[in-house]
């Protein structure tokens, strides 16, 4: 054991030296590149100047960053949203549970068809159906129940009453403040941080009260539908802009007095869709990782992490 450790250390030292050499080379490159960047005395680029001066008259919003994110560079944000969607899809794919492939796929359907061909008028259907329902229920509880894994300390539903009290005060306040962050796009904020706040509220409830409280809200099947609905709203906004104004992410909503909820035209609905997208994406990713189980049982036939 120690010999192996030493050889590893030897190897590690080589690796460190190689890393130092590479990092030193990179440092020289970066030093040359970084000292050549524009400094703080340079004038603002034309694009930035244009974004600053057109935010108030053309978009009716007092927040140029939101104008750039959802307005002038809306198409980029659109693409970035779908990058997020792709990341969420890959995490869900990586963390999915093993499908039950014990039998032949579609066995049940075929059996039912065959049975109905042989016996078109089943009489003992009721009992059998109840039994099957009970079995399914049991199966579901089995797979969804508390983690009966080894080496895991006993799971309590939540933390203590003090923490729960503080969470009761804080969770609604955080939720309202998150909505404010999205709704008043005239102040810094918008869909991205508000989506993060949505994750924060759910995590606060999860940490203080336990999984059962948020199980309904964070089930992948439901949240995915909401996420795709958010993506659909973004596409809809863009397509309506294309049809009505002739370009994607053109403003087709009436402008109102800046500073209010409806100021900024399409910025607000776009921001709301981003909120849904980012919030559900982060929630899906986090809770998918949280629900991830062991399911490659093949390489440890009698290992304790084996499922079923």
């Amino acid at each position: 054991m120690t010999g192996r450790q030493e050889s590893h250390d030897e190897h590690g030292r080589h690796r460190t030296w190689a890393a130092v050499a590479l990092v030193a080379g990179m440092a020289v490159l970066l030093l040359l590149a970084v000292t050549d960047l524009p400094r703080e005395a340079a004038p603002l680029p034309t694009v930035a100047r244009e974004a600053m001066t057109s935010a108030l008259p053309a978009w009716g919003s007092t927040e140029p960053v939101s104008v750039v994110v959802y307005g002038s560079r809306g198409f980029d944000t659109f693409g970035e949203t779908f990058l997020l969607l792709a990341a969420v899809a890959s995490v869900l794919l990586l963390t999915r549970r093993r499908e039950r492939r014990a039998g032949f796929q579609g066995e049940e359907v075929a059996a039912t068809r065959e049975r109905s061909e042989q016996d078109p008028h089943p009489t003992s259907g009721r009992n059998e159906r109840e039994a099957r329902a009970a079995e399914r229920e049991e199966e579901r509880e089995d797979s969804d129940g508390p983690d009966a894994s080894w080496s895991v300390p006993p799971r309590l539903p939540g933390l203590t009453v003090v923490v729960q009290g503080a969470a009761r005060v804080l969770a609604p306040a955080l939720a309202v403040a998150g909505l404010y962050l999205f709704a008043f796009g005239s102040s810094p904020g918008g869909g991205f941080p508000a989506g993060g706040v949505a994750l924060g509220v759910l995590l606060l409830l999860y940490a203080a009260f336990g999984r059962h409280l948020v199980r309904q809200v964070t089930s992948a099947a439901g949240v995915e539908v909401v996420e795709l609905a958010g993506a659909a709203v973004i596409v809809l906004i863009a397509v309506v802009g294309l049809v009505a104004e002739g370009s994607l992410t053109a403003n087709w909503l009436p402008l109102t007095r800046p500073g209010g909820f409806r100021s900024g035209g399409i910025l607000q609905p776009f921001s709301g869709a981003e909120l849904v997208e980012v919030g559900t994406g982060l929630v899906l990713v986090t809770f998918a990782l949280l629900d991830l189980r062991h399911d490659w049982a093949d390489d440890t036939p009698e290992g304790p992490g084996r499922e079923q």
Partner: protein, 86 residues
């Protein structure tokens, strides 16, 4: 007045320097969590002072978020510490 608040922001940041030593040295995870929580509080305070120094009340909102999220972070850490997984 404004110089006062800027100096206060700087001094609060210097307090963070003391806490980073505990973050580096803390023999157990709990020590580090204590240091991390205190660091978040100090940065929040520093942001409050900075907002007044820079004369933008918008910056106060960031301090508000940082303060509330530091609680959430500590809670998650405590949960992790208590049961070995989140």
């Amino acid at each position: 007045m404004t110089g006062l608040m800027g100096t206060a922001a700087l001094l609060e940041l210097l307090v963070v320097g003391v806490l980073v030593v505990r973050l580096a040295a803390g023999p157990t995870v709990s020590d580090r969590i204590v240091a991390l929580n205190a660091i978040s509080t100090q940065i929040t305070l520093s942001l409050v002072c900075l907002a007044i120094w820079a004369d933008r009340s918008l910056y106060l909102d960031v301090g508000l978020w940082l303060g509330s999220f530091s609680y959430l972070g500590t809670l998650l850490w405590a949960r992790f510490l208590e049961r070995g997984l989140l």
